[in-house]
Amino acid sequence: MVTGIIQDLKKAVAGIEASEVSYEQNGYHAAVVTQKGSLVSVAEFFNGRVFYLADLCCVDYVDYLELVYFFNHHKTLCRIKVTLKVEPEKPTAPTISHIYNIAHWYEREIHEFFGVYFEGHPNLTYLFLHEGIEYYPLRKKPTPVPEDAKKLLNSFNPEGEEDTFFVNLGPQHPSTHGVLRVVVKMDGEYILSAEPVLGYLHRMHEKMAENRSYLQFLPNPARIDYPGALLLNLAHVTTIEKLCGIEVPERAQYIRTITCELNRIASHLLWFGAFPADLGALTPFLYAFDDREQILDILENITGSRLTYCYFRFGGLYNDIDDTFIEMTKKFVKRMRERFKIYDELVTGNVIFVNRAKGTGILEQDQVHKYGCSGPIIRSTGMPFDIRKTEPYAVYDQVDFEIPTGTVGDNMDRYNVRMAEMEMSLRIVEQAIAKLPSGPFKAEKVPKKLKPPKGDIYHAVESSRGETGVYIVSDESDTPYRMRWRVPSYSNLMTFPALARGTLIADAIATLGSYDIVVPEIDR
C-alpha cells in the first residue's frame, strides 16, 4: 500500500520529496518533505484517501523549525511522516485546520509553544498556557513572546448576546473529571456552542523530557495518564527499547501484557463508575471501586504502588512476579465475571440509563478521520481500529482476542464497547497466564546510561483511551532531543464541541462522561 500511496502522492502534488523508510526502525513507513506551497494539497490528498491526522508536532532544530505531521489510516496500517521546514525568525506556516478539524488545536498548541503563526487559522488563542508566559517554552533558545503575539493569544473573550448566556463548566465542576473547563454558550437548556479550554493541568512533561535522561523520565508517563499508568509506562519503555534495539525476554513481555490488561480493566472500571455518576447514579461508582481495589491489591503486590506505577524498565521489569500474583489474578478474573451480572442488572438494563444513553452524542463514522479519534470512541462507531491488532506489541499477537465494536456511535455504544473490552481483557489475562513462560524477567546488559543512535521514532500503544504515541528525536546524547506525546483524549475531546452543539446540557454532560477523558493526559 505504501508504495502505491507514495506514487500517487508524487503524481498528485508536484515537486514533492517522498521516500519509503524502514518501519522496523522508525515506526513509520514513509517520509514526505513538503514546502509551504504544497502542504495544503498534501493534506487534501490524505484527506481524500481517508487518512487521519495522528499527530502534529514541532521540533526546534535551532537553525530551523520542523513541523511534523503523522498521517495514518484507520483500516490498513500506513503511517506517513510529512515534514515542513519553517524559519526560526517569525515562523509562519499554512493552516490545514479547514481540512482536518483536529489541526485546530494542534496548531494552536504549536503557536503557543513555538510561536509558529498559522496563516488562515480562525482562532489562534491560548489553549494551554497562562497569560504570564514570557518565553516560548519549548524553543531551544530562549525566544521571547512578542507583545502583539500576546494580544493575539489573549483574545478569547466570550460575550453573550441577548437570550443567550455563557456558563463555565469547570475548572471546578463535578462532571468535568478534574480541571477541564468548557465554556458553554447556552440558550435556555440548549447548548449553542461549547468551547473546551485546556491547560489547567499542563505539567510540562515534554519540556521535562528534554531536561533529563531517558531513565529519569520513567516516573513521568504514569502521571500523564494516571488511571492507565502502566499502559503509558509501557509506551515509553517500548519506544526506547525499539530505538536502542533492546531485546526483551519473553517472560517480561507476558507479564507486561497481563499487568497492562489488568490496568486497562481498572481504568475502564473507573470510567464505569464515573459515567453513571454523571447521570446521577452514585452506587455503581462504589461497586466499581470495590472491584478496582481488587486489581490495585494485585498490582500493588508486584509494583509497590496503587496508582502511578513505575514498574517497567528498559529491557524488562522492576521485579519478577510471584505465585500469589497468579493466584490472585485468577481469583480476580473469576470474581469479575460474576460482577458483570450485577453491573448489567444495575446499570446496563436500567430503563432510565438506557434512555439517557441511547441516541445521544452520536459520532458519525465518516467524521472520525477528521478528528483522529481512537480507542473505544472510534470502535463505538463500528470501526475496528485497535493498535493491539494493527501494530502488535508485547505479546498481543500471541493471544486470541476480538475487537468489540458498536454500530451507531452513541453513548450507549461507547458504554457497551468498554464493557465488552473489559471482558476481552479478562480473556487476554487468562490466556497470558496460561502461557506464561519461565525465564529471566529482565534483559541482561542494558547500559545504565542509554545513548540511542541518531534518528527519530514514532511508536504507539493502545492505552485504555486509544492510540498513545511517543515520538522521540534522538541526538545521540542520553537525553531525548525532543519527546512528543500523542495522547488519545486530546483528539477524542476535540469532537466534543461538534457533538454538544444543539443538545441539552444534560446530554452534553453524558457525552463528556462517556469519553473517559483524563485531563492531565490532554494537558500533558
Binding site: V179, G199, M204, L270, F289, E293, R306, L307
Partner: protein
C-alpha cells in the same frame, strides 16, 4: 475578691463547636490530578470516609469546610483555586494531598514555567499528606491530624507503625 465565673462559658461553647466542626468536615468536590483518584478511593467502600462524617462532598464551595488540594496546581489554575478558597465560608481548612500540592513534587525543575511550587504559596495549608500519591490511609490520617489540630486532642487510636 473572689472572681466570679462568667455567665456564659464561651470556652465550653468553643469546645462544643470545635468538636462539631472536627467531626463534620465537608470537603468540596475538587480534584486536580492523580491524588484525586486516591481521594475518591478514600471515600469509597474500602476506606469509607463517611465513618468520620466527611463523605458529604459538596460541589459548591459555599457549603464546604475543607478543601483537599489533590494534585499539581498550575499557574493557570492558581487564580481559580484562590477564588474557590475565598468562596468557602470560614472556618475553613485545607489539606495539601500529595507531593505536587506540597511542593510541586516531581514537576519542579530548573526552568519550569507552569506550576506553583506548593499550594501553601497561595492559600494557608493546615495539614500536609506527602506521597505520590499517598495511600488512602495517609489521607485518613491527615483528616485525623486535622481533627487533632481543631480540637487539640486525638480521639482515635494510632495505627501500628511500620517500617
Amino acid at each position: 475578691m473572689e472572681t466570679q465565673g462568667p455567665i456564659i462559658r464561651f470556652a465550653v461553647l468553643d469546645k462544643v463547636l470545635d468538636l462539631a466542626r472536627a467531626n463534620s468536615l465537608w470537603p468540596v468536590t475538587f480534584g486536580l490530578a492523580c491524588c484525586a483518584i486516591e481521594m475518591m478511593c478514600t471515600s469509597m467502600a474500602r476506606f469509607d470516609l463517611a465513618r468520620f462524617g466527611a463523605e458529604v462532598f459538596r460541589p459548591s464551595p459555599r457549603q464546604a469546610d475543607l478543601m483537599m488540594v489533590t494534585g499539581t496546581v498550575t499557574r493557570k489554575m492558581a487564580p481559580s483555586l484562590v477564588t474557590l478558597y475565598e468562596q468557602m465560608p470560614s472556618p475553613k481548612w485545607v489539606i495539601a494531598v500529595g507531593n505536587c500540592a506540597i511542593s510541586g513534587g516531581p514537576f519542579v525543575f530548573k526552568g519550569q514555567y507552569n506550576i506553583v511550587e506548593g499550594v501553601d504559596k497561595l492559600i494557608p495549608v493546615d495539614v500536609y499528606v506527602p506521597g505520590c500519591p499517598p495511600r488512602p490511609e495517609g489521607l485518613l490520617e491527615g483528616l485525623m491530624k486535622l481533627e487533632e489540630k481543631i480540637t487539640g486532642t486525638r480521639r482515635f487510636p494510632k495505627a501500628e507503625e511500620k517500617w
